[in-house]
């Protein structure tokens, strides 16, 4: 079966501690619940979650929706935001997990990438290197979410096709964001076979598209 690989990169640096990260956990729960109700996503979407703070780690390897059990995401007290390391890890995982170019096996659909951050990369040099690497990975779309006022939108422009901004990091806003991510994944699962870049559904009020 053809899989739609979906990678979620989530900033877990110290500033996300408390309500923001709890909102992320709740948002992910409802995201998965709604993907379970979408027949196309239920059958094709595979989700991986990578968190990043002082280091990047895979907290959920690429897993089909039907088998998926969400881990609880936690944050350290404080620490830097190694966005570059996260991009490096996602590239490694894609090379390992996504099936491409072979006549013997069924190829996957182009992967989707969502990056959510409330700050700016502390590993700028690596970040810049990895932006180049990401471009080589042929994502159907890379969507970045700048959560809160400290998120650096300018840096995200380098890597993302689409950028959305959230004014606040509260649970109501995150809930809207994850609902929209879920709709985007559903639309990705539906428009499979698309050669051009994925067109995302219009975001809700609290999620602003940045030009």
């Amino acid at each position: 079966m053809r899989r739609l690989p979906v990678y979620l990169l989530i900033d877990t640096s110290g500033s996300m501690k408390g309500e923001p990260i709890e909102a992320v956990n709740a948002g992910l729960q409802s995201l998965v619940a709604s993907l379970r109700r979408d027949p196309q996503a239920l059958e094709t979407a595979h989700i991986s979650i990578i968190t990043f703070d002082r280091e990047a780690r895979v907290i959920l390897p690429l897993t089909p929706i039907e088998e998926l059990q969400l881990p609880v995401i936690e944050t350290p007290e404080s620490g830097p935001t190694m966005t570059g390391a996260a991009l490096e890890l996602v590239c490694q995982r894609i090379d390992m997990e996504v099936r491409i170019q072979s006549t013997d096996i069924k190829r996957d659909w182009k992967p989707l990438l969502f990056i959510m951050t409330d700050g700016a990369p502390n590993d700028v040099q690596k970040y810049k290197e990895m932006v180049v690497e990401c471009k080589k990975r042929n994502f159907a779309s890379i969507t970045a979410c700048a959560a809160g006022s400290s998120a650096k939108i300018e840096m995200l422009r380098d890597v993302a096709d689409n950028i959305v901004a959230l004014d606040t990091c509260d649970s109501a806003t995150f809930s809207q964001f994850f609902t929209w991510v879920s709709a985007s994944i559903s639309s990705g699962a539906q428009s499979v076979g698309v050669v051009s870049k994925l067109i995302l559904p219009p975001p809700p009020d609290a999620v602003m598209l940045v030009d």
Binding site: R2, P39, T44, E66, K106, S191, V194, S196
Partner: protein
């Protein structure tokens, strides 16, 4: 420090003790059917069950974890008397029991509502000293799932009929009047089949076409054409129109047939029109090019090629096919571009807005086959751009001729379109174009010539390599024969073919189209 922990440290680990498992069908109630109320205060050995299979090797070999992390959070509470009355009355001399609550454990998800679910509970309670276990009770706290114990195992099975998240509970009574309570969560996935909707497309929308179509034509007593096209579930879910199309024509005088299928790109706005123009235009153009003179001029080279496979004849035939098939395909591309321009003009007139439309908005694949019967055999030529498949199916001769090369990209779903201006589809060099896109053969007989879009080839063949395997085609044909009465040679065949196209393949819900000459 709770007692469980002490127990674990002194436990003669690795030793396996049989224990009984009680299933409670309804929360907080004990039921018939071999379920006995536990009598924890009475010191006794655990009930023995005959024919118990030994525990799985992996479990016995696993070294015991001296400090299981979830035990750290266990806390002791008094048993609420009202809830456990049945339990208490069953013979407890003591007024209260120690209840040790464990953190919530998630069971592996149930793949699909309505299917059997089975889980082994042994691992959950492996931290308990097994020879002290007296009773194990398993029950649903929410949801209506009939749990059963699999005889002779530590497995619980059930068939959750409804999707959702459910709370379960596993209670383990051990000696010393302790009840260990393991709350469990179980997620049951919905059956995807129940989630699909079938919303009709708008019959008055722009470029509307029927959600399904079928056609049958009896060429002779021994030759027929059956065709069907079915909108995919992914389109039906949103009331979107079918993007696939087909066309065919048989000419009795020349005993020749033209067969066409096209798959409009899911990403292109008006691909349903693109595929329609593609099949109709190519059909008309090919028929226009065929004449008695055309065929009679080709008899010598085709006959020669059949016997000798010589390059000179091949060149003549290829040139003729270039003039017929590639010309037709190119005319179709031009017609599509013309339609795009006209639509742009109409859009301007209707909405007073300058919106650009091009062939790209009508992107479609195309498979076109020309078949002609000669005294010395069948001549078959095909032009193919995009995915899907076309093949000459000759099981009697143990042969499958895949009539061309599918276009595929690095990732799934990437392909080429008739409407694009790339070098791959429309190279400047005619020889390169023939080499890549045209294929012809002469065979004595065939069981069927089959053209299909990737809505069928993708789920049925999985990979491109499989398209070349006769075995895979045999399987496909056998599967179709189960429902399609090919021997009847009437409309029942195309009706059944359309019905067959509803077959279920996870993750594969594209439009499906097939044309069969048999």
């Amino acid at each position: 420090m709770d007692e469980t922990k002490k127990d674990t440290s002194t436990s003669d680990t690795g030793q396996f003790t049989n224990f009984d498992i009680y299933i409670q069908q309804i929360p907080y109630e004990l039921e018939e059917d071999g379920i006995r109320p536990p009598s924890p205060s009475v010191t006794k050995t655990a009930p023995m069950i005959e024919n118990i299979s030994p525990p799985p090797a992996a479990n016995t070999e696993k070294p015991p974890d001296p400090t299981p992390c979830f035990l750290d959070e266990a806390k002791e509470i008094e048993i609420p008397k009202d809830e456990w009355s049945t339990f208490q009355e069953a013979g407890s001399a003591k007024d209260s029991w120690k209840v040790i609550d464990y953190p919530v454990n998630r069971l592996p998800n149930c793949k699909m509502a309505g299917t059997d679910y089975r889980v082994n509970i042994e691992e959950l309670i492996q931290t308990l000293q097994q020879n002290q276990i007296q009773h194990v009770t398993f029950r649903s706290k929410s949801g209506n799932i009939n749990w059963k114990r699999v005889d002779g195992t530590k497995d619980i099975c059930g068939q959750p009929m409804e999707p959702g998240d459910f709370d379960l509970e596993l209670c383990v009574d051990v000696q010393k009047c302790e009840r260990h309570v393991f709350p469990l969560k179980l997620t049951v996935n919905p059956d995807p089949k129940t989630l699909w909707k079938d919303i009709p497309s708008n019959p008055n929308g722009i470029y509307a076409k029927p959600d399904s179509e079928r056609a049958f034509f009896a060429c002779s007593e021994e030759l027929s054409i059956a065709a069907a096209s079915q909108r995919g579930r992914s389109h039906a879910q949103d009331g979107k129109p079918r993007d696939d199309d087909f066309a065919f024509k048989y000419d009795a005088t020349s005993q020749s047939a033209v067969l066409v299928v096209a798959d409009g790109a899911g990403s292109a706005k008006f691909s349903r029109k693109g595929s329609q123009i593609a099949v109709q235009t190519t059909l008309e153009e090919v028929i226009k090019a065929l004449s008695d003179e055309f065929w009679s001029s080709l008899v010598p080279p085709i006959q020669k090629w059949k016997n000798e496979h010589d390059t000179a004849s091949e060149k003549v035939i290829n040139t003729a096919m270039y003039r017929v098939l590639i010309h037709a395909a190119f005319e179709a591309k031009k017609c599509i571009e013309q339609e795009a321009r006209e639509h742009q003009a109409r859009y301007m007139a209707d909405y007073k807005k300058d919106e650009k439309f091009s062939g790209r908005d009508y992107a479609t694949t195309l498979i076109l086959s020309l078949v002609k019967k000669f005294d010395f055999g069948w001549f078959i030529a095909s032009y193919w751009v995009g995915d899907g498949a076309v093949a000459i199916y000759r099981p009697a001769d143990n042969e499958l001729i895949l009539h061309g090369i599918p276009d595929s990209g690095e990732y799934g779903g990437q392909t080429r379109f008739l409407t694009e201006n790339s070098d791959s589809v429309w190279p400047n060099d005619a020889h390169a174009l023939i080499q890549r896109r045209i294929r012809f053969d002469v065979v004595d007989a065939f069981k069927a010539i089959i053209l299909m879009t990737d809505g069928i080839s993708d789920p049925r063949f999985e990979t491109e390599k499989n398209l070349e395997h006769l075995g895979e085609w045999n399987e496909l044909w056998a599967d179709m024969e189960k429902v399609v009465p090919f021997t009847q040679r009437n409309e029942a065949v195309s009706d059944a073919l359309l019905a067959w196209m509803n077959f279920w393949a996870p993750g594969s819900h594209d439009d499906r189209t097939m044309v069969i000459l048999y």
